[in-house]
Amino acid sequence: MKYMIFCHNGWGDFSYKRMLKLLPDRDEVLVVGEVMEKDEQDYDVCSISLTNMLSLDLTEYTTIVCSPYWLKTVNSLHPRYMIALLERCPDDQDAEMWNKYSELLAAQADIVGTASERIYLEQCLRREGIFLLSGESLLTYGMVNHRHDTLFLNDYEMIWFEALSSMNKGERFEQWTSVQWEIRCKYYVDLVATYPFHATISYLAATYLYLLGRSSDAGMYLVNSFEQMVLHDYLDCLESHYRFLSSMAAQVGDLEKAIRIYAVSVYSEEDQMKVIEMRNWLEHGKDDLVKAEIFRLNEDYASAIRTLKPLNTSESKSLLRDNYVQTYRYEDVLRLKEEGSLSHEKDSEISLVDSLLIRGTIHMLHNRPYEAVTAILTATTVELSALRWLSEMSSYEESAERMLRSIAYES
């Protein structure tokens, strides 16, 4: 397999250098932009200029993309696979734009990795195929031959290796996600035994148990965390902690309880209408809709999508669409619309504008500027505030241009 690396801000800032030695089926590894000769030797990579890269046929390459500003360029190259490495927003970048386009990058990628556990857990609740590229274990889980030496892989390196190997073979790699959750879960559960009064550690133990589908065990860690938060005066935990219990109740199938817990945590009229709606669904046997909605209200979009996907009603498709929108799975949103799955009553003016803006964004990211602008301008005829998307898109393009220029300059 040939790999092409797209760093943000050049090789110097690339924080996954060792990973390049551990790539499976490693044939050739090219890095766009300047790389020091010593690093080229140490990591067995070759630098390639932007111009030269653009002249290559990347359809046989796996791309590793470290910045949302590469998305447009990489899309135009139609690589075989796209690996996204997500980072926290750098200090010199606009956070809102960075975060939004990082989500779009993650949504489009075949597999996603990140060294930040916070980003990792957020993404686990948004989509499949996410891997954590950091950990504490000193144990060795695998080996890779590299030049005349054998490199040892720790737990996350081995998991990442296995996942990428499966991906390269066109096989599913979800099982490795669960393996990673088991390892993280054990780590935090053991740590709770040592630090039982630490709110965050208990919370993380609860989260991983929840991800593993073990809500019946997760509950006690969550309430322990909740107690510690309150005892230490961190009172902004009604949603993050208490409401999370509703997701756990939904997971074990106790939907009545899930709704009641959610109802306790909301006060606005809009949220209370949501409670009534869910009660209605439950009365009419629409359990899956309730389940999915509870997940979504707890920002567990991944579980909501998994629950809704097998369903085939216009109601379920509409909820599915909402989940896709919130997780920036824009292509899936459009696909739903094209399938005609969404009922006409739901296709109100608001969602028409949304669709146009989504379409515009996709056109832009796939280098179809004319179509992009047309879609946005059409949207503005319905809703004038859609104009801000034009300025957002042009900001994105400016930032992308700036990054490309700095890479080109280095080369």
Binding site: L138, L139, T140, M143, D149, F152, N154, W176, I183
Partner: protein, 472 residues
């Protein structure tokens, strides 16, 4: 200077001379004999790597007995030259191969290790030296991440080169640093051959490696043997992302171990073992290393009235890869004299029971049970086909899962490693896919129009495995 000061000074001088001679390579090996290394293989990649390092870093002449850990373990002989001192033993179901390997040992020192272990330079001499320093030392272990107690050391190395650098610096600096410990459970142990004569082999009732080794060490200590931990040797260990067979300690196994050693059952996991007061324990019987593989009885059942097919039943696959089988046939109902007999099986049976009335099927089973000599009974019906390794698989699952009942849930799935799952409640299962131990009140048998069923007793350990048999 006092006498004591003189002795101390003297010892210091001798140590310095030894270090000097060792440094210039004039110190030979502690033993002139070959060392037998029994390597338990769990992963072909690990095994190849482990053996390569054994060949590279073992200063002594060695004989490696490589034992595959499962029926599906692939051959790795092609990675090694014929002249290398390695014996690749084939897998044998229904028996502890390590005990079998023990039988063939003639060298005074033996190493028992798993393929997860990567040895380091000078590892072997360093492990032998404590046996020379103290004659009661019987078992020696290096530091590693596979030890649970004093020997536990988790070190991270980016590469093998880093590991070797560490060993080359650490081992000579700490040479001779070893101490007596109360328990060893790791994946690399050196022991004296005579221990097998004194204590015997591993307890066949224990399955997980940790408990087997812990039990063995305790039995050795009961006979005043010493366990030594070499702090001057570190070996690296590989770990598996997914739990492997033999890693998990089963609850019934733990109860057995606790009863044996008078340990509180609630004190799982193993932390209590190292604090055990050995003087309060009962003397344990010697456990022979000579065992025969499991003897199994196959009940071949041809029953009238099952299913509505007009086709004749399948021939029974009597050509099985497993050898220790007693064959008993049961004919139920009206049949031609030798049904399904393309291979002439009926003449080769050890016993045959025939009942003309289909309603007497249960009595026929009872009669057959009275003739059973095997520890395990498995059933073959002419309504299914069975592969020639079917009995081997049954024995293998029964043995290594410590099961009381095994049920094949086979649909022919090629290239799929056999999977095991243990259901929460026992279900009625087709008798034609079942095997169970010959124990009291193992369960009940029922017959419907289409099928005979077995319902295991609730408290038994019933294991379901998946690998090709074909339904008709």
């Amino acid at each position: 200077m006092s006498n004591r000061d003189n002795i101390e000074k003297n010892t210091e001088h001798l140590a310095k001379r030894f270090t000097h001679l060792d440094h210039i390579g004039l110190i030979g090996l502690p033993s002139i004999d070959k060392v037998t290394i029994i390597l338990e293989m769990t992963d072909p990649v690990w095994a190849v790597h482990s053996i390569q390092l054994l060949l590279l870093h073992s200063e002594h002449p060695i004989r490696i007995i490589a034992l595959p850990g499962s029926l599906e373990f692939p051959s790795i002989q092609q990675y090694f030259a014929k002249e290398e001192p390695i014996e690749f033993w084939p897998y044998e179901a229904g028996i502890d191969r390590v005990n079998q390997a023990f039988v063939t040992i003639e060298t005074p020192f033996v190493v028992l290790m798993e393929d997860r272990i990567m040895v380091t330079p000078r590892w072997l001499s360093s492990l032998i030296w404590p046996c020379m320093d103290e004659e009661r030392v019987m078992i020696v272990s290096p530091m590693s991440s596979t030890e649970q107690f004093d020997g536990k050391l988790d070190l991270w190395f980016q590469s093998h080169a880093d590991l070797v650098s560490y060993a080359e610096e650490h081992h000579p600096r700490n040479q001779g640093l070893w101490r007596q410990v109360t328990m060893l459970t790791g994946s690399c142990l050196l022991f004296r051959r005579e221990l097998l004569d004194d204590v015997g082999g591993f307890d066949p009732l224990l399955r997980s490696r940790e408990l087997k080794v812990a039990d063995w060490c305790l039995r050795a200590r009961l006979l005043t043997a010493q366990l030594a931990l070499c702090e001057d040797v570190y070996v690296q260990a590989l770990h598996s992302l997914k739990p492997r067979r033999g890693e998990k300690i089963l609850s019934d196994e733990w109860h057995l171990f606790c009863s044996k050693w008078g340990i509180e059952r609630d004190s799982y996991p193993l932390t209590s073992i190292s604090e055990l007061d050995i003087s309060q324990c009962l003397i344990q019987p010697f456990i022979s290393i000579h065992h025969e593989p499991v003897f199994i009885t196959v009940l071949v059942v041809v029953s009238e009235g099952l299913d509505t097919t007009l086709e004749p039943g399948y021939p029974i696959q009597i050509e099985q890869s497993y050898s220790r089988i007693q064959w008993i046939g049961i004919l139920i109902g009206e049949h031609e004299e030798h049904p399904c007999d393309e291979q002439g099986i009926w003449g080769r049976l050890d016993a045959l029971i025939k009942v003309r009335e289909v309603e007497q099927w249960h009595e026929a089973l009872e009669a057959a049970f009275m003739l059973v000599k095997g520890e395990v009974i498995t059933f073959m019906f002419d309504t299914r086909t069975y592969e020639s390794d079917y009995v081997t698989w049954v024995v293998d699952f029964m043995y290594r899962e410590s099961a009381d009942v095994v049920v094949n849930t086979g649909h022919d799935i090629p290239n799929l490693e056999a999977q095991v799952h243990i259901p929460k409640e026992p279900l009625p299962v087709p008798l034609s896919l079942t095997a169970h131990r010959r124990i009291q009140e193992v369960g009940s048998y029922v017959r419907s129009l289409e099928e005979y069923y077995f319902i295991p007793r609730a408290s038994l350990r019933a294991v379901y495995w998946t690998k090709g048999t074909e339904d008709e």
